[in-house]
């Protein structure tokens, strides 16, 4: 009877998870604090960048993406690439034409 155990166990020590959580809470605080500052058009960019940093932590550490096979990382990249390209193409319409 075989089990597929060719991958190493996907786990961290408990403390790593706590540290990640701490980082996430800190970044949340940062987002809230930064919201008060007026960056003009850049505000949304700053907010998104911090959100991306938080997502990165959740993806790689909580969801173990770092420990998974390469295929999974390619998948995530493809999905995000599609969203980015769609966003860009959508905005070739909206940013160049005022309705």
């Amino acid at each position: 009877m075989e089990k597929n155990i060719t991958h190493k166990e996907h786990t961290h020590s408990y403390s790593i998870y706590f540290l990640v959580w701490l980082a996430l809470i800190t970044l949340t605080g940062l987002t809230a604090a930064v919201a008060g500052i007026n960056f003009g058009k850049l505000s949304v960019v700053v907010a998104i960048v911090i959100a991306m940093a938080k997502s990165y932590l959740v993806l790689t550490e909580f969801m173990h993406l770092k420990m998974e096979q390469k295929a999974f990382k390619v998948f995530v990249f493809v999905a995000l690439l599609f969203l980015t390209i769609s966003f860009t193409l959508l905005f070739t319409d909206y940013s160049f034409y005022v309705r």
Partner: protein
């Protein structure tokens, strides 16, 4: 017609297959919300001022609290998996229960928040809302749609984890076979990630 004895063949268990299936499903969920995020980005681009004004009506305290609740629930979920990997069944059960409770707290908060909004007349189709400038109507339309859809996913996630809890108690999920719990965890983390984006985009517009 002869009856064939169906031999229960031992199928090689492939945990990577199970996780891959869940990741692919997560992509479809990501794109589901992604479509709404695209719509949001267009309308915010077209009505920056109206979005900013409408955002002031949001209760930032509730929003921040909910963000912390969900992030912590992600922690407890990850710990629940780590616990069962180490054979700590009781600990895993407690952590799964905690995760579900955090989800419930999130939903209660949401309910209180939305009740407050409804009392002020800010609900879809209301006269108050329809008298506002179009940019603000769009903001609230997106707010209720996106946060509402997210809430449905929180409830689904809680249900899934409840099933996993039952499996863990019964020993179906155990030290040597926990891929179901991992899959449930993946789903829950995605729900968390979506909120990570929803929070600043709706509650923290300057």
């Amino acid at each position: 017609m002869s009856t064939q004895e169906h031999v229960e063949e031992h199928v090689h268990r492939d945990d990577i297959r199970s996780r891959m299936g869940m990741w692919l499903f997560l992509f479809s969920e990501l794109l589901l919300f992604g479509g709404l995020f695209l719509i949001y980005s267009v309308y915010r681009f077209m009505h920056p001022h109206a979005f900013s004004i409408a955002s002031k009506e949001m209760n930032t305290f509730f929003g921040t609290m909910n963000t912390i609740i969900l992030l912590t629930s992600s922690l407890t979920m990850a710990l629940a998996i780590a616990a069962i990997q180490r054979g700590k069944k009781i600990l895993s059960i407690c952590l799964q229960i905690t995760t579900i409770l955090f989800g419930a707290a999130f939903m209660v908060n949401k309910f209180l928040e939305w009740s407050a909004e409804f009392r002020e007349g800010n609900f879809p189709g209301s006269a108050v809302l329809q008298s506002k400038p179009q940019g603000q109507i769009l903001y609230f339309g997106l707010y209720y749609s996106m946060v509402g859809l997210h809430g449905i996913h929180v409830l689904v996630g809680m249900t899934v984890i409840a099933f996993m809890l039952r499996f863990t108690i019964k020993g179906v999920i155990n030290k040597d076979n926990y891929v179901k719990l991992e899959a449930a965890g993946l789903y829950w983390h995605l729900v968390d990630i979506i909120w990570i984006f929803l929070f600043p985009l709706f509650y923290l517009i300057t």
